[in-house]
């Protein structure tokens, strides 16, 4: 499926300004950008291209699959033109940092808190970066691929005692 012509202005502008890579799948347009441009890109989308709403922020972890481990994913929506656009920012390393877009889309506040909670991405300049759904004292970031699903650890003879100490229930 070819990309609809109405996306051409935004694609051309983003290729020129931010060197964006374009992907199309099932009619959905994704622009892949370097993460240092995220605030400027969001600003341009809101002010120049009429994307009034930031519908969703999420992330995907490509642990052991890609050197750019976590990809940050923004879904923008323009009510006036009825258009969806996705921006994707591949992030380097295990403890990535990006700037917050909360100043441009205030609704990003909770979504960034959720991504921080679940993926451990730090949003610089965020007004209230606390965990949102997990308890404050929780360790780790559950939606990362190296985080176990939570099955019980298997005890072998060589580590039975070590695991027994950690087990929550069968302790005499």
């Amino acid at each position: 499926m070819a990309i609809s012509a109405e996306y051409q202005p935004v694609i051309a502008a983003f290729q020129e300004r931010f060197n964006a890579e374009v992907r199309e799948f099932r009619g959905e347009v994704t622009l892949i950008l370097s993460s240092e441009h995220n605030v400027e890109a969001a600003q341009a989308l809101r002010d120049e291209f009429g994307f009034e709403m930031l519908i969703d922020i999420t992330a995907v972890d490509y642990w052991l699959k890609s050197p750019e481990r976590i990809h940050l994913n923004y879904q923008f929506y323009s009510i006036s033109q009825n258009r969806l656009l996705r921006l994707r920012f591949p992030l380097q390393g295990n403890a990535p940092r990006v700037r917050t877009v909360e100043t441009i889309y205030p609704g990003a506040n909770w979504y960034e808190r959720e991504v921080f909670d679940m993926f451990g991405i730090t949003f610089e300049g965020h007004s209230d970066l606390r965990r949102i759904v997990l308890p404050y004292e929780w360790e780790g970031h559950p939606l990362r691929k190296d985080y176990p699903l939570g099955y019980e650890e298997v005890q072998f003879t060589f580590n039975a005692d070590e695991i027994r100490v950690r087990k929550p229930h069968p302790r005499e």
Partner: protein, 409 residues
């Protein structure tokens, strides 16, 4: 067991006003076990006398890790978890997940299945609005309406039980169609509901719309304007109550909504009362859609014929070797979905319910993310409650119509 840590006010310094530290205003916990928070929502209120200075929502008490769990299930099995998200709208959750899977696989859905999907989605919209109406009226001390709403909701749940065997967690809509065809009694039961419901909606309106006590508690309370709705990603009845006729069933039609004749109700005030009016009118429109969908419902198959993704009908298993192989393969190892990511959204009773689904070429979703309306809407609580009484907070929560399973996932 980890020790429970006390959170001191200092950690919330950036959220409360300076007066909280001198003791001029009071910090008060509302919830998580407060009946009017419609679930397990904790609100930290900063109060000046009885006036709200600030309201800090705290969510996560109902977090079940659905997105993580779905990554370990096949596409078909993961669907069962979607029912538990927004437990007032299970067919809607099934529908949006199935639409995402179908988009990822490029799978067709027969017209009869689409009509059944629309009928069920609209029935749940009515049932969700009924519950929202009943409980928010109950919070504002109108007891009798709650009982009437529950009476009609029971009819809808009976229809759900008839088609799927379950009253709430239906998992009836499946990728590629629906589980099985609707039983013979379905049409007459839905027809009965359609003929009764408009009169019943008039009854509800008779109790509330011109009731002075209700007007006093709802007009000019919890006002939000269009600009703030857009900035905070607020959709659904809250956005429509500010005058924007935005409904995904019209702007990005799915499941054949473009065939049906209905209007998007709007109001202009953006307060609790406008949201109430929008929801009541939406119920009337849903009844219209159900009526049309039932009359126009085509015959034919209710599941896609693509056997690589959709299990064959039970009747074929005894006579066809291929059908048995497909059945076995699909229910043990599942199907491989292509690599790629899609986003689909539907208009749930609360607003835009979206799914981000990513496949990696294997039988399990690599990442599923739900963009839920309640999560986005809870964010505006500080904005809409500021300057109101504590008692009005209760009405505002009811009018925002949150479901905590939807917000916490």
């Amino acid at each position: 067991m980890t020790d429970i840590r006390e959170v001191s006010v200092d950690e919330l310094r950036h959220l409360v006003s300076e007066r909280a530290f001198s003791g001029e205003t009071m910090l008060l916990n509302m919830g998580p076990q407060h009946p009017s928070t419609h679930g397990v929502l904790r609100l930290l209120l900063e109060l000046d006398g009885e006036i709200l200075v600030n309201c800090i929502p705290d969510i996560g008490f109902l977090h079940t890790g659905v997105e993580k769990t779905m990554e370990s299930k096949t596409y078909q099995k993961a669907e069962v978890l979607t029912d538990r998200l927004d437990y007032m709208n299970p067919p809607g959750n099934n529908l949006v997940y199935c639409l995402a899977v179908e988009k990822l696989l490029d799978l067709d859905v027969p017209p009869r299945a689409q009509a059944i999907r629309v009928i069920l989605a609209e029935l749940t919209r009515i049932s969700s609005h009924l519950l929202s109406l009943g409980t928010s009226a109950l919070d504002l001390a109108a007891m009798s309406l709650f009982l009437y709403c529950m009476r009609e909701r029971e009819m809808i749940l009976d229809i759900m039980e008839l088609v799927s065997g379950q009253r709430m967690m239906t998992t009836y809509i499946r990728p590629g169609g629906v589980w099985r065809d609707v039983p013979a009694e379905f049409a007459s039961l839905v027809n009965q509901f359609v003929s009764i419901m408009p009169r019943r909606i008039d009854e509800y309106e008779g109790m509330l719309t011109h009731n002075d006590l209700f007007l006093d508690r709802t007009r000019g309370i919890g006002v939000i304007n269009t600009a703030d709705c857009l900035r905070y990603g607020v959709t659904g009845p809250i956005l429509r109550a500010t005058g924007v006729a935005h409904d995904l069933r019209k702007v990005r039609p799915y499941s054949g909504y473009e065939q049906y004749d209905f209007v998007i109700p709007t109001q202009t005030e953006g307060d609790v009362y406008s949201r109430y009016l929008v929801r009541v009118e939406e119920m009337r429109q849903s009844v219209r859609i159900i009526d049309q969908a039932l009359r126009l419902m085509p015959g034919g198959a209710v599941r896609s014929n693509n056997r690589k993704y959709v299990p064959p009908p039970r009747s074929e298993l005894g006579v066809s070797m291929e059908a048995l192989i497909h059945h076995f393969k699909l229910w043990t190892e599942g199907f491989d979905a292509p690599e790629g990511y899609v986003y689909t959204a539907i208009e749930s009773p609360r607003g835009e319910l979206g799914v981000y689904l990513e496949g990696d070429g294997g039988p399990k979703p690599y990442r599923v993310h739900f963009r839920t309306p309640s999560f986005a809407h809870l964010q505006i609580m500080p904005l809409v409650t500021r300057g109101h009484f504590v008692a009005d907070t209760v009405g505002i929560i009811g009018s925002i119509d949150i479901v905590l399973g939807d917000a916490d996932r």
